[in-house]
């Protein structure tokens, strides 16, 4: 019997595995984002396509380059940086000068992801850190919006897109306000069907709530997204805004408008759910979602800016490890929650 003279492999139990893999999860998130990206290109045309491509390339090349420089194997193959690139691109206004797009992406990946130790160790969502940097560095360019469904969007680029680095971007006058800004500064409400379908001004991914929700539902069905986080955010925002609207309907918009405008959908479904920067327990996820909901409402209603999703998520990211620390579930057979038995 020759077979039994073979060398046998030894490994620690368990010897079976479910087949789940980090790169498969990440790739599925990318698939879920693709329809959102395609819709952004449909609504904003060439400018959106270039913005997404540059954002993606900047993020992927930054991670690959940093791995090379520091002599580690490249981690681009785990696909997480592709999500970062696409999400980051979706948070930007369509006519943003491309050199700014590249800068923000590189800084987001380098500062928020690589410096912290790469995938699994980033305390903050890298895409949002990149956007936060741009918001601080170029507030003007980051709040100049182009109208949706412009007739010549597939033929021409906005004059600002190809601005030379460090030159002042020029706008050709054809700019638009976002629904949130219109509401905040002019008390003009955008019709709900336009909000739902995404035919409004705004960042690339602020439009198309339906596609974002479909992508999220697909990930939830595949157990690749914690539905409790977006559910808690939606519930909090809905309750909060309904209460405010009831107190002063002239000043505060209703729940439907609040849920569908700005970056709330994209942020709640795809960014707040970043596994690395959100709590690991179910109860923690709900608290984290409620926190984001409250923060975004406070910033939107009483802050100086019309939109607050980015800061709400970044602040909640910072609190996330502490939520996990405080909310340890009761271990089977022990009396107290967390701590020693």
């Amino acid at each position: 019997m020759t077979a039994l003279r073979k060398t046998l492999a030894i490994e620690s139990s368990p010897h079976l595995a479910s087949g789940a893999s980090v790169d498969i999860i990440m790739r599925n998130v990318v698939y879920a984002l693709l329809p959102v990206c395609a819709f952004a290109v449909y609504v904003f045309g060439l400018a959106a396509l270039l913005c997404l491509l540059v954002a993606l390339c900047a993020c992927v090349l930054t991670e690959h380059g940093l791995c090379r420089v520091t002599g580690r194997p490249s981690t681009v193959g785990d696909w997480s940086v592709v999500i970062t690139g696409l999400l980051y691109g979706l948070t930007l206004p369509p006519g943003l000068p491309l050199w700014m797009v590249a800068c923000g992406g590189a800084i987001g990946v380098a500062l928020a992801k690589f410096l912290f130790g790469g995938l699994g160790y980033n305390a903050f969502n890298p895409a949002l850190v990149g956007r936060a940097f741009l918001q601080a560095a170029f507030p003007g360019a980051m709040t100049t919006w182009h109208p949706a469904l412009a007739p010549d969007r597939f033929a021409t680029l906005p004059s600002s897109t190809l601005t030379f680095p460090f030159a002042r971007p020029e706008y050709d006058g054809l700019t638009a306000a976002t629904p949130l800004a219109q509401m905040k500064f002019d008390q003009v409400a955008t019709p709900v069907p336009d909000l739902l379908l995404g035919f409004t001004g705004g960042s690339l991914g602020e439009t198309g709530a339906v596609l974002i929700l479909l992508g999220g539902a697909w990930l939830v069905a595949r157990r690749m997204m914690n539905w409790r986080i977006p559910a808690a955010i939606f519930a909090t925002v809905a309750l909060f805004s309904t209460a405010c609207h009831w107190l002063d309907p002239g000043r505060y918009p209703g729940a439907v408008f609040m849920l569908l405008s700005g970056g709330l959908m994209l942020g709640a479904v795809f960014m707040a759910t970043d596994m690395v920067a959100s709590p690991i327990t179910h109860a923690g996820a709900v608290i984290y979602g409620v926190l984001i909901g409250v923060l975004v409402m406070v910033i939107r209603l009483w802050g100086g800016m019309p939109e607050g999703m980015m800061y709400a998520i970044l602040l909640a990211n910072a609190v996330s490890p502490h939520i996990d620390q405080l909310l340890r579930p009761r271990v089977f057979g022990s009396r107290r929650r967390g701590g020693t038995a």
């Binding site: 019997m1 020759t2 077979a3 039994l4 073979k6 046998l8 492999a9 030894i10 490994e11 620690s12 139990s13 368990p14 010897h15 079976l16 595995a17 479910s18 789940a20 893999s21 980090v22 790169d23 498969i24 999860i25 785990d78 997480s80 130790g117 790469g118 995938l119 699994g120 160790y121 157990r223 914690n226 596994m275 690395v276 959100s278 690991i280 327990t281 996990d324 340890r328 579930p329 009761r330 271990v331 089977f332 057979g333 022990s334 967390g338 701590g339 020693t340 038995a341």
Partner: protein, 420 residues
């Protein structure tokens, strides 16, 4: 659809039981030489009562228990004691044992001893008979059964639970025992109830549970059936329960009326690399190499596990003998191994937290283990509660060997405790 009892969390690995669950138990042939370890259980080795060159009859007692944490051993075949020497153990260590050469021409009739009469025997008589019959937990742990039945004066047992869950994939021994030996199991239950004083628990009822892993773990089983939570670090006795594997009960019911001892057991030999899969009644001490050669192994065999694939151990050598705690062997082909997969950093997906039946946080424990922070693991994150079911490693998409890290950390904890 009826909602069956279960516990919170857990996983659903593929069952792979269809290959053998329909195959009746068959007698396995005798190997040319049987190596009977005298330590097949948790506790102290048995003391041999035979000498080299002595003729023994199948079923004859060849070693007596050394103290309470020890059980007797019986000759698995009629033959001659060739040597009393060290035999290879499962953990890679040598243990004292008896080499026995069966007589080729013998009829291999099993010797009988003094019967333990169910009606007249007292609780202490039955417990002594169980120890003398060499009975240990046949589910895999091989804990001496009589020790479980010695209920301290300040404790009361109101329920006896027979564990027939067999939640490991591939294995079908308990399943076949329940189908083929129901009368033995009932007799076993009678002895056990009398021994532990849980007679109030009659009549016997069968609880059906959802298919989920690790339902067969004592803590999960008692929780699902009775809603009682065995305290951290405690035994089922703490909640008035004694849990006995169903095959153990069947052996008690089969052996005690005839005063016999365990000299063979039922195992499942299965897996993709096995040619004649099946459930076999196999003599204790049969070398694994002989067993595998008899059932046939494909040439590309790459890994053999003792027990099931979730908690079973990879075998370093094929020269180890089958013991009382062996519930089966699973042989895999080379390409089916989980090893060699790329390990990613933990991404906090929470799959392990949702899988852990004890509500531990394997993700956090894994990170702490990576940093060598064993004290925090033990004090704040309940490392000692982990019974290494492997659910966390099974679901981990980052392919982190969590159970391996926890096991290593526990070894260090024990070392630290033993050194002053």
């Amino acid at each position: 659809m009826a909602r069956f009892a279960t516990f919170a969390h857990g996983i659903h690995p593929p069952q792979y039981k269809a290959d053998t669950c329909g195959l009746p138990i068959r007698q396995f042939p005798f190997a040319p030489v049987l190596a009977v370890p005298l330590l097949q259980h948790t506790g102290k080795p048995a003391l041999p009562v035979v000498r080299e060159g002595q003729e023994v009859v199948r079923g004859q007692c060849i070693a007596r228990p050394d103290g309470n944490m020890s059980v007797a051993m019986h000759a698995p075949a009629s033959g001659v004691v060739e040597r009393i020497a060290l035999v290879p153990g499962i953990a890679g260590r040598m243990v004292p044992g008896v080499y026995l050469r069966p007589h080729p021409g013998s009829t291999q009739e099993t010797a009988t001893g003094t019967p333990c009469d169910l009606v007249t025997a007292s609780s202490a008589d039955i417990i002594a008979a169980i120890q003398q019959a060499g009975i240990v937990g046949l589910g895999g742990a091989a804990f001496p059964t009589h020790v479980k039945l010695q209920v301290p004066a300040d404790k009361r047992v109101d329920t006896l639970v027979l564990n027939g869950v067999e939640c490991e994939p591939w294995l079908t021994t308990d399943h076949r025992m329940m189908l083929e030996q129901p009368a033995d199991i009932i007799t076993g239950i009678r002895y056990l109830l009398k021994a532990c004083g849980a007679e109030r628990a009659m009549p016997v009822s069968v609880g059906v549970m959802q298919v989920k892993y690790p339902q067969g773990a004592e803590k999960m089983l008692v929780k699902a059936l009775l809603g009682r939570e065995i305290p951290s670090g405690g035994l089922p006795l703490a909640v008035g329960v004694v849990v006995i594997n169903v095959a153990t009960a069947a052996e008690i019911g089969r052996l005690l009326p005839h005063g016999q001892g365990i000299q063979e057991r039922v195992i499942t030999i299965t897996g993709p690399a096995i040619e004649k899969k099946g459930n076999y009644r196999i003599p204790i001490g049969t070398p694994l190499r002989f067993a595998l050669e008899t059932v046939g192994v494909t040439p590309d065999v790459g890994q053999v596990f003792l027990g099931g694939p979730m908690m079973g151990q990879s075998l370093p050598s094929l020269d180890i003998p089958i013991t009382k705690g062996t519930s089966g062997f699973v042989a895999y082909r080379g390409e089916e191994l989980t090893g060699g997969r790329r390990e990613y950093p933990c991404i906090h997906c929470g799959y392990c937290v949702d899988a852990c039946p004890l509500f531990l946080n394997p993700s956090k424990l894994g990170l702490l283990a990576l940093n060598g922070d064993i004290d925090t693991m033990a004090q704040d994150y309940h490392l000692r509660d982990c019974f290494e079911c492997g659910a966390c490693s099974y679901v981990c998409p980052a392919h982190i060997p969590l159970v391996q890290r926890f096991r290593a950390a526990k070894v260090q904890l024990r070392k630290r405790k033993s050194s002053p």
